[in-house]
Symmetry: C2
Subunit: 357 residues, 2 copies
C-alpha cells in the first residue's frame, strides 16, 4: 500500500494505491457518514458495487445508482438523473458520494457531488488505469455535444482509494487507453520513467508490482503539478500534452469510436512531431510509435477533415481568444506551451496525417 497526500487550495486528501483496498475501504474514509450513494456504471456495478456496499454495512443508508458504461453517460441527462437519485436517497450536506469506476464515472459523479447542495464530499474509487490520471487533481465535468468536459468544476475529492485488483478485469482496450496517460506522465517529467514505461508489454497480463509502480509514479507527476497550479493558470496545462489534437479526434470521431487514451496517443505523436520541427530537436518519436504499434494502439484512423479538427481545437478550454495552444516538448521532461496560428496548425496537421497514413 502506498499513500500520497495532496494539498489543494480548499482541502487535503490522500491517494492510496494498493491491492485489496476495496474490502478495507472503511478504514480510509476521512469522516463518518450516515448516508452514502455509490455511483457506478453497469459494467463495474456487476463486478464490484455489491462488494463495496457490503463492506459499508455499518453505514445507516447505502444506495447504488448506475449509469450505462461509456463516455456517452457524461451527459446533461445522466447528470440530472443522478442529482434526482441523490435527492430521492435523501442525501444531505453531510452525506458522501463514492465514484466507483473509471474516468467517466469519476468525472460525472464528481460533478454531481460538486453541485449537489453546492457541494458534498466525494471519494474516487478508480477501477481503470486511465483513472490514475483523472481521479487526481479535482477536475470534474460532463461533456457537451460541441466539446468534451465543457461543463464542470474544480472540485477535489476527500480521498482517492485505488485498489489495483480491480484492474484485473480490464479489457485490453482500456489498458491501452490508460497507459497512454502513463506514457504522457513520463514524457512531460522524466526520461527514465518514460523509458521504463516503454518496456511494458500490454499484450500480456499486467504484473501487479510493475503496474503499481507505474501508477504511483504517474500520480506523483500529476500531483506535483496540480499542487502548484490547481486551477490551470499555467503549468497544469502541461498535463494537456497530446490532448489538444486528442480531444479533437475523440470529439470528431464520436466518443466511443476511439478511446480517450488511443486518441491522446495519436495526439502525443503529433505534439512530438511539431516539437521536433518547432525546436529543431530530436525526440524518441519512432520509439513511441513502435511501442504504440506493438501494443496495438490504432495509429491509422479515419481522419476527420483538418478544418473540423482545428475548429474543435479552438473550442478546447485551453485555447484563449480562439488561438490554439499546444503543449510541446523542448526535450523529454521539459514541456512548453506554444500558440499556433491556423496556418501553421493546418500545415503541421496535413503533414502529420499524410505521414501517419
Amino acid at each position: 500500500m502506498h499513500k500520497q497526500t495532496i494539498q489543494t487550495s480548499t482541502n487535503t486528501y490522500d491517494v492510496i494505491v494498493g491491492e485489496g483496498l476495496l474490502t478495507k475501504i472503511e478504514q480510509f474514509l476521512p469522516n463518518t457518514y450516515e448516508n452514502i450513494l455509490i455511483i457506478t456504471d453497469d459494467v463495474v456495478n456487476d463486478l464490484y458495487a455489491n462488494k463495496l456496499a457490503d463492506v459499508l454495512k455499518s453505514v445507516k443508508h447505502v444506495a447504488v445508482s448506475t449509469v450505462p458504461a461509456g463516455e456517452e453517460s457524461k451527459s446533461i441527462e445522466q447528470y440530472y438523473h443522478l442529482l434526482t437519485e441523490a435527492i430521492n436517497h435523501r442525501l444531505d450536506r453531510k452525506s458522501l458520494i463514492i465514484a466507483l469506476g473509471g474516468g467517466m464515472v469519476g468525472d460525472l459523479a464528481g460533478f454531481v457531488a460538486a453541485t449537489y447542495m453546492r457541494g458534498i464530499d466525494f471519494i474516487q474509487v478508480p477501477t481503470t488505469i486511465l483513472a490514475h490520471d483523472s481521479s487526481v487533481g479535482g477536475k470534474v465535468a460532463i461533456n457537451h455535444p460541441k466539446g468534451k468536459n465543457l461543463i464542470g468544476n474544480f472540485y477535489p475529492p476527500v480521498a482517492v482509494i485505488y485498489d489495483v485488483e480491480t484492474l484485473k478485469s480490464l479489457p485490453a482496450k482500456e489498458i491501452r487507453s490508460g497507459y497512454a496517460e502513463v506514457v504522457k506522465h513520463g514524457l512531460i517529467s522524466d526520461r527514465s520513467f518514460f523509458e521504463e514505461v516503454l518496456k511494458a508489454d500490454l499484450t500480456v497480463p499486467l504484473q501487479p508490482e510493475v503496474t503499481v509502480s507505474h501508477l504511483q509514479q504517474g500520480i506523483a507527476v500529476k500531483a506535483g503539478i496540480v499542487q502548484q497550479d490547481e486551477k490551470e493558470s499555467n503549468i497544469r496545462k502541461f498535463l494537456n500534452f497530446g490532448h489538444t489534437l486528442g480531444h479533437a479526434i475523440e470529439s470528431e470521431l464520436g466518443y466511443g469510436e476511439i478511446t480517450h487514451g488511443e486518441a491522446v496517443a495519436i495526439g502525443m505523436l503529433f505534439a512530438m512531431r511539431v516539437s521536433q520541427e518547432k525546436f529543431q530537436i530530436k525526440l524518441p518519436y519512432n520509439e513511441l510509435y513502435d511501442w504504440l504499434a506493438a501494443n496495438r494502439y490504432p495509429t491509422s484512423i479515419k481522419w476527420p477533415s483538418v478544418n473540423h479538427l482545428i475548429d474543435k481545437m479552438k473550442l478546447d478550454k485551453k485555447s484563449e481568444n480562439a488561438i490554439v495552444q499546444m503543449v510541446l516538448l523542448k526535450e523529454i521532461g521539459i514541456p512548453s506551451i506554444i500558440n499556433l496560428n491556423d496556418h501553421e496548425l493546418h500545415a503541421h496537421l496535413e503533414n502529420f496525417i499524410r505521414e501517419l497514413g
Copy 2:
C-alpha cells in the same frame, strides 16, 4: 456611489451601489475582456440590455442571451441552453458573463459561469431589491422540482455593480419581495436598522436615498457574515432566517404563485413565533405583522398540508440527517440555530397556521 470590498477564500470583489452606474460600467470592470455574454430575462432585456451592450462597445464581442422572466427559468433546461449559448458565442476561459437582472438571473447566470469550462468570470448587475441579497455571497444555483437551489456552487462574482436607477421599473410585488430580505437583515443584526426599515412605506414610490441606505446596510450585514463563513458551516446559516418555512411554502405552492420575499415574510413571522415560545421572550411580532399587512404582503395564504411542508423543510439544504434546523432569534440581532423534531415542528406549524388564518 458607495463601495464595499468583499473578501472570499478565492478572490476579492467590490460591491458598488449608486445611481446611473449602468452607463459607466466599463470603469468598474476588474479586467479587460474580449468576449462578453450578457445573460438576462425577457423583461429586463427590453429595459436595459441594449443600453448595457451599447456602453460596452469597445469590447470585441458582446452578445445577449435571454431567458423567460420568472423562477421557472432556474431550470436544468435553461441552464443547458445558456451553456450552449456560451459555446456558440465562443466564450473562452478569459471571457466574462454579466448577469443582468434579479435573483433568478444572478443565480442562473452565475451557475453557468461557475461551470462553463470549469468557471469563468462573472459580474452581477442586479436590477431588483431582492438581488441586494442574492448578488452578494457567491451562492449560485438552479432549482430541482423537488427543491429550490438544490443544484449549484459557491462561486463568487468578480464584481457587483448595483445601479439603483434600475429599481424604478420594479413592480410593487417585487419591491415587497426584496424588502423582506432587508427586514431579515435588520432582524438578524440590529434593532435600530430593523426599526428604520419598518418606517418604509412600500405603497408609494421609493425614495432613492432611503433605498440606497437600506440596501447598503443590508449588503453590509450579509457581507459581514459571508466573509466569516463563506461555505455556510455555521453563522452563514443565520441568513436563512425565515427561509426554512419560506422555501417550503414557495416550493409547495409552486414558484411563481408567491414571491420569494413574500414567502420569507411568512417564514419570518413563523420563526419569531417559535422563538418567542422556545426562548420565552417577547419579539416585535405584531409590529412586523402590521407592517407586512400595511404594505400588502399576503399574510393569509392557501396553506399546503403540514406534512408536506415538513417534508420539504427536511429537503432543505440546511437540514442534516433529516432533522430540520431553524434559525431563531434570542433577541433582535442575536440569531441562533436550533434543531426541531417532527413533533415540535408539527405543533408549532399547526398553531401558527391557525393563528394566521
